[in-house]
Amino acid sequence: MRPGAVLILASALFFGACAVQSDVSENESPTVNDPLEPYNRYMFAVNDALDGGVIRPAAEAYRFVIPQPGRRAILNFLRNLESPVTLANDVLQGEVGRASVTSARFIINTTVGVAGLFDAAGAMGFERHSEDFGQTLGVYGAGGGPYFVLPIFGPSNFRDTFGMGVDVFFDPVNLWAGNTEREGVALIRTLVRGIDLRSRTIETLDEIERTSIDYYATIRSLYRQTREDEIRNGDLAPLPELGAD
């Protein structure tokens, strides 16, 4: 199997085991949970250097070489391939309506949308959403556990690292690639996903860095809040206590 995936899975299993124990008591008020902060800050800096040297230039080249409609089609294609993982997690969460939407989108976009290159289902009003196993665990009450910066992949926590391992392991595309000795396909897919994601976040991340006095702490906060929002499927968050004044 893919050495990268094995590594992630192994670390996920290890951290996942810790996460389950420590998360039960996490209360609603969001507090920073970062006992590994020295390691995390170090890895954040390593990733930042890697980004400046390799990932960002690749993302810029991607933007430069491939025009917007082409990048749109690639994004649609990648997202369509994510449908089975989203569907499995919709089902695990007991979300019948959302599971139907995901199925409809997959069928429509794979056929009418020419193997997923066009989001035909979106135009018909079937709006895309994404689910992963980290969110599923969250829906069942698991807190995020300690914040954890992954090499290359960046911000995560124990729960979501474990979830990512599970999703990677059960992803039909990966299973197919593993069974037919097409590991290269899975690797290329991960690579393009990363470059595409980075190409869509250049301005946003620049802006966050520019307006931050502690970039690391800001990203850590954004990660936690974004994941909580995804787990709530966009419902209004509990409002922070502001006092009566």
């Binding site: 301005e203 946003t204 702490a217 974004t226 968050a237 409002l239 502001l242």
Partner: protein
């Protein structure tokens, strides 16, 4: 996608660079006052951005005025400082208030974009507890994503002020508080450490 330049500025800039003509019909039992306030705030900002006679500098000044009028920055700052507010001396509080205002204005009111065809729609209003309401809205970026933005609005002495902006579930208040807490913690728990960082930032 050129309109997307930052996550909160995204909301603020898109919000102000957006057609507020969108109809809003209060669907709930709420009186819709906060929703109307949010639409009016955006309306004055839209007029500013659509006014092609303004120089970039005048545009920034006008944005700053709208920001200061519509947002309760002292309250936002006090919350962002969290438990450290109570321990801070009178002098530290005063300096923090003025630094925080400059920090926010500098972060959000610079490099304003032009109107890029975004549309803004108020989708509802909810009770936020006490004198607070939450106005829910959506911003559609042309050829891009639809962004959910919630505005927490507080009524005080007959005036309405924005006390939090929540973009796709990310709260400006919480993010600012987490960041400031980290800076203070890394300065050995001293508020002075945060003040020094802010001083350096706003100069």
């Amino acid at each position: 996608m050129k309109a997307i330049r930052g996550i909160f500025r995204l909301a603020l800039v898109l919000f102000v660079s957006t057609g507020i003509g969108a109809a809003y019909a209060p669907a709930s039992a709420q009186d819709g006052g906060a929703a109307v306030f949010i639409m009016e705030l955006g309306d004055s900002a839209l007029r500013m951005l659509a006014n092609s006679e303004l120089t970039d500098e005048e545009r920034t000044d006008e944005f700053r005025r709208i920001l200061l009028r519509g947002f309760d920055l002292p309250l936002i700052g006090r919350y962002a400082l969290g438990r450290h507010w109570r321990r801070a001396t009178e002098g530290e509080r005063d300096e923090f208030n003025s630094l925080f205002e400059s920090f926010i204005v500098e972060s959000y009111a610079t490099r304003l974009g032009r109107y890029g065809g975004e549309t803004f729609k108020v989708t509802g209003e909810r009770n936020g507890g006490g004198r607070d309401s939450v106005v829910r809205s959506e911003i559609q970026v042309p050829d891009g994503p639809r962004v959910r933005v919630d505005w927490r609005v507080r009524s005080r002495g007959g005036t309405l002020k924005v006390v939090d902006v929540v973009v796709e579930g990310v709260s400006m208040l919480i993010t600012q508080r987490d960041e400031f807490a980290s800076v203070i913690q890394r300065s050995g728990g001293q508020v002075e450490g945060l003040l020094a960082s802010l001083r350096q930032r706003v100069r």
